[in-house]
Amino acid sequence: MKNKRRIKPKKICMKTIFWIVVVCIMFVNLVPLLWMLSASFKTIVDIMNPKKMFVFTPTIKNYIEVFTKYSFLKPIINSLIVSTGATVLACLFGLPAAYAIARYKQNKLSLIILAVRIIPAITFLVPWYIIFSKLKMTGTYTSLIMANLLVSLPLIVWIVTPYFGSIPKELEEAAFIDGSSVFNSFIRIMIPLSAPGIFTAAILSFIYAWNNFLFALILSSSSTKTLPMAVFNFISYTSVNWGGLMAAAVVITGPVIIVSIALQKYVVSGLTAGAVKG
């Protein structure tokens, strides 16, 4: 009994500290988001007015402007096409590659793939641009998707390889004995068992492509412009439309937050599992 009493205050103390830390972290992370959300419902003059920080007359003018004056629908569709395209292709090429690296210990190959990721992306831009320009492909979805693959592919390969490596070989051998081909066991055993890792990698790759600005700046045209580029339409040489900018930021962040929350379970288990077993 005495012992328990001594531990109790300590426990309470630890819990308090834990929650203080949680609240602090939440505060730091959420305040900018909440500010963005509230600013998107204000006029410019109210955004800059500290007195109207919390109490203000909300307006949806900014959102209307985002979709009418700045025609944001097209960039949203463009971003979806590019991000999904890059992620799907990266999985298509990256998963078999990761499998091969894990099963046949092709560590040199994986290092080469990582090297591509380490070199700053801007290094590739001019060559990419020249090649696409020669092929008359600048401003196409294909060029944007291929450029994004440069980042997505290594990401997928490196996150998924330890997963495949951690699955006991015996499982596959059992399948082989039953007459399964390598391809079949890859599809039916390896992929389902590594789903959390694959989800994590796919979401990260999607978010990266969704937010990528540099590739889009150089390789997109007015009709294939993606969201991160469209956001800058609100910043002009002689004025900044803060309200519209914040509304646009909400529109951009929204889908990513929703996707991340929906798949959070997989992402978290994916990240920790990868960290421990990889």
Binding site: S223, Y237, T238, S239
Partner: protein, 433 residues
């Protein structure tokens, strides 16, 4: 007229050629390049918003398709640099900042010489552009760009606060400016006398007016850097004092958007920056002081009245373009007299004399601002930053000096810093010889 043209265009191709001819002739546009597609990359501004709205009219009149892309200033440079370095085949018309890009772009051969396009074109009237604007977009008599956005360093005043302090008009000299600052500064109530750019690199342009006002400059005619002269030190200390003593806290991080917000919220009585941003201050949706904005000419220093009067943006045609004639049709229309007036009404500070003299200009611009602009134009200095190929680097070096001055260091320490900075700028200048 235009609606009729649309109907005819969709109706019968042959018939349109004749009828559009009539409509396009007024603007001197040609149908010779119909079917070509040109790509245009420019910087977001009120002028370009107008262009984007009316682009359909141009496409109808000429049959040229325009891929129009409007970006933020630094992004335009990046895109132009990458595309031009790769041959520039995909880039036809682009906006550029003559003061920091002309020399580099011309040196690299990225800009198409334009003289042959506009010579003899009385409707376009190249001579109509301000002389200083034509000069800064030309080299050795060859024009490489057509200017469309100019700006001057002026004084914005909050008339309510000025009246409250018992003041009238605007400060005419640096001494008067200090007097006004003393009277208007009211930090206890959160109101500061001045809003001035204090973020080193950004401040260089606004600082240039003071530097020249004290008789200094970034470098002399023989390209000897002069940032360590007594005049330059005096100007740095003066600018530093203004920022330190009369600007809101956090001035070291302020660029034009921050000083504009302080002014529009009524928290700064005066603001020194470009006149091109006036529309933001007088927009009731963006400004609490929309109906209390006054304007004044940049005050006179010991060496005279020396605000900058610069060409901030110009349109050029890429030398690698495969549709140069069609591109010129676009440039001719975009910065032609009619479209230029539309731009002015939307808030753009034009580079055309005829636009400023037009009827529209009299009503579109606040009267007092128009007066200030007319007064600033003849005395203005054509550059607001070190005009050299590596101007960006030089600007960073000068920015560091401004930061040091605002932080408030002694004359001796500043002199030592300036000596070092001057040597670095000299090295850059020498490398360009």
């Amino acid at each position: 007229m235009k609606k009729r043209n649309v109907a005819l265009l969709t109706g019968a191709m042959m018939a349109t050629a004749l009828s559009v001819g009539a409509g396009a002739e007024d603007a001197g546009l040609s149908q010779d390049y119909a079917g070509q597609t040109i790509s245009v990359v420019v910087c977001n501004s009120s002028f370009m918003e107008e262009i984007q709205k009316d682009i359909g009219e141009f496409e109808e009149a000429t049959g040229i398709n325009v891929e129009f892309e409007s970006l933020q200033d630094a992004q335009v440079s990046n895109k132009v640099a990458v595309a031009s370095a790769a041959g520039g085949k995909d880039l036809d018309v682009f906006g550029y900042r003559p003061l920091q890009e002309s020399l580099l772009y011309i040196k690299n051969g990225w800009l198409e010489p334009l003289n042959t396009y506009f010579e003899g074109d009385t409707a376009f009237d190249y001579e109509d552009f301000f002389e200083s604007a034509r000069e800064i977009t030309s080299q050795d008599g060859t024009a490489y760009g057509i200017p469309y956005l100019t700006e001057r360093e002026i004084l914005y005043l909050n008339t309510e606060l000025v009246e409250k302090a018992g003041l009238e008009g605007s400060p005419k000299t640096y001494d008067e400016l200090l007097e006004w600052c003393d009277k208007l500064n009211d930090p206890d109530n959160g109101v500061y006398a001045l809003a001035l750019r204090g973020e080193g690199n950004a401040a260089v342009t606004q600082f240039s007016g003071f530097l020249r006002g004290f008789g200094g400059d970034f470098f002399d005619e023989d390209r000897n850097a002069t940032m360590n002269t007594p005049e330059a030190i005096e100007a740095l200390q003066f600018y530093g004092k203004l920022c330190r003593e009369y600007c809101a806290p956090g001035v070291l991080n302020m660029n034009w958007t921050e000083t504009m917000n302080l002014f529009t919220q009524g928290l700064a009585a005066m603001r020194i920056d470009c006149d091109s941003q006036y529309a933001f201050a007088t927009d009731p949706e963006a400004s609490l002081v929309a109906d209390k904005v006054g304007y004044g000419v940049f005050p006179e220093g010991p060496a005279g009245t020396t605000p900058f009067n610069v060409t901030a943006w110009a349109l050029g045609i890429g030398s690698g373009s495969e549709h140069k004639e069609a591109s010129w049709e676009f440039v001719k229309w975009a910065v032609g007299k009619d479209q230029d007036i539309k731009g002015l009404v939307a808030g753009n500070s034009s580079a055309r004399t005829s636009t400023w003299e037009s009827e529209e200009a009299k009503t579109a611009y606040p009267e007092q601002l128009a007066e200030v602009i007319n007064e600033s134009n003849p005395v203005g200095v054509a550059t607001d930053r070190p005009y050299m190929v590596d101007g960006g680097e030089a600007r960073t070096i000068i920015g560091e000096l401004i930061t040091a001055a605002i932080e408030g260091i002694s004359d001796e320490d500043l002199q030592a810093k300036a000596d070092g900075a001057n040597a670095r700028i000299q090295a850059l200048l020498d490398a360009e010889k």
